[in-house]
Amino acid sequence: MSRFRVSVHIVPRTGILDPQGHAVADALHSLGFAQVRDVRVGRHVVVDADAETPEAAGHAVRAMCERLLANPVIEDFEIASIGRP
C-alpha cells in the first residue's frame, strides 16, 4: 500500500448555465482584460488516498466522483493527475 495524490477537476457541463463563470468574465473585462473570451468556474478536489497502484488510486477516486464529488446532473469531472503527496 502506498499513498497517492489524485486531483480532480469538476466543471459545469457544457450547455449548463455557469453564472459564476459569467460574472467572473464580466469582471475581468471591466478590469481591462479584454482578451478574455470565456470563463468557467469549477472545483479542484485533491484526494490523498492509500492504494496498491496509481491505477487503483485513480479508479477509487473515479468512484468517489460518481458517488459524491460530482453531481452528474449538472457537472462533468475528469481525473487531472495522479502522483505522490
Binding site: P19, Q20, A23, V24, A27, S30, L31, V41
Partner: protein, 230 residues
C-alpha cells in the same frame, strides 16, 4: 448629518440601512450608485449587506472593483467613517480597507438567526453609545462570515484593541458554543488602525426597531451621529 449608502448590484440590505438612518435615528440618507463617482456629500459611508455580484468567486471579490470604490477608499484615507456591514465587511476586506478575510462558515451552512455579541471596545466612533462589555442580540445572515487572518494580524488586532465585537455564549463568554461560524478568536467585528473603518458580520441595521425585537443595533448609529456631529 448625512449617511451615504452604497448600492452595489446585488446589495439587499441597503434598504435596511436606509430605513434605520431615516426612520430609526431621523438623519439624512443618500443612496450612492456603484457606477458613480460622487459620494453625495455624505459624512459617513455605509457598505451594506447583500450579495454584491452574487458573491460569485468570493464574497466581495468583484464588488471591490466597482467604480465608486475609488471614492470610498479616498474617503477612508482622508479619515471619513465607513461602516461595513456583512457583505460590506467582506468587500472592505477584499479591498484591503480592513485586514483578514471572511471565508465559508465552518459548518458550511448559511446562518440566518440571532446571535450574541459583546462590545469589546467603546472607544470607537461606532460604539461609544454602548456600555463596555455590553452583550447585544443582533441578527446574522451569511454563508461566508468566518473571519481569518494570519497570526501576526490577529496579534496586532488583539494587541491594539481593534477587535470591537466578539461572538459570545449565553453567559457572555467568547466560548466556542457562542461562535456561529468558526471565526478566529470569535471575532465578529474589527476596526482599522486609524479607527475610521469598522466592519462586522452581524446586522445592527436590522435591529433598530423595537417592533422587531431588541433594538440593540440603534446605538451604533447614534454613536456615529454623536461623534461626527461633535
Amino acid at each position: 448629518m448625512r449617511f451615504g449608502i452604497v448600492t452595489f448590484p446585488g446589495s439587499n440590505s441597503d434598504i435596511d440601512a436606509y430605513q434605520t438612518v431615516v426612520d430609526g435615528i431621523g438623519e439624512e440618507a443618500v443612496m450612492l450608485w456603484h457606477k458613480g463617482h460622487d459620494l453625495g456629500g455624505a459624512d459617513v459611508l455605509i457598505l451594506p449587506g447583500g450579495f454584491a455580484y452574487g458573491d460569485y468567486l468570493r464574497a466581495g471579490a468583484i464588488a471591490r472593483f466597482s467604480p465608486i470604490m475609488r471614492e470610498v477608499r479616498a474617503f477612508a484615507d482622508g479619515g471619513g467613517r465607513v461602516l461595513a456591514i456583512c457583505n460590506g465587511f467582506q468587500i472592505a476586506c477584499e479591498a484591503g480597507l480592513l485586514p483578514g478575510a471572511l471565508v465559508r462558515n465552518a459548518g458550511l451552512k448559511f446562518l440566518g438567526r440571532s446571535v450574541r455579541v459583546r462590545v469589546e471596545s467603546t472607544g470607537t466612533a461606532f460604539t461609544n453609545a454602548y456600555a463596555p462589555g455590553q452583550v447585544l442580540r443582533l441578527p446574522i445572515a451569511h454563508g461566508e462570515g468566518r473571519f481569518v487572518a494570519d497570526q501576526q494580524v490577529i496579534e496586532e488586532l488583539e494587541g491594539e484593541g481593534r477587535v470591537v465585537m466578539r461572538y459570545v455564549d449565553a453567559a457572555g463568554d467568547p466560548a466556542p458554543e457562542g461562535n456561529p461560524n468558526g471565526s478566529m478568536h470569535n471575532i465578529a467585528g474589527i476596526i482599522n488602525a486609524a479607527g475610521n473603518v469598522f466592519g462586522l458580520m452581524p446586522h445592527p441595521e436590522r435591529a433598530a426597531d423595537a417592533l422587531l425585537g431588541a433594538p440593540d443595533g440603534l446605538p451604533m448609529f447614534e454613536s456615529l451621529v454623536a461623534r461626527v456631529a461633535a
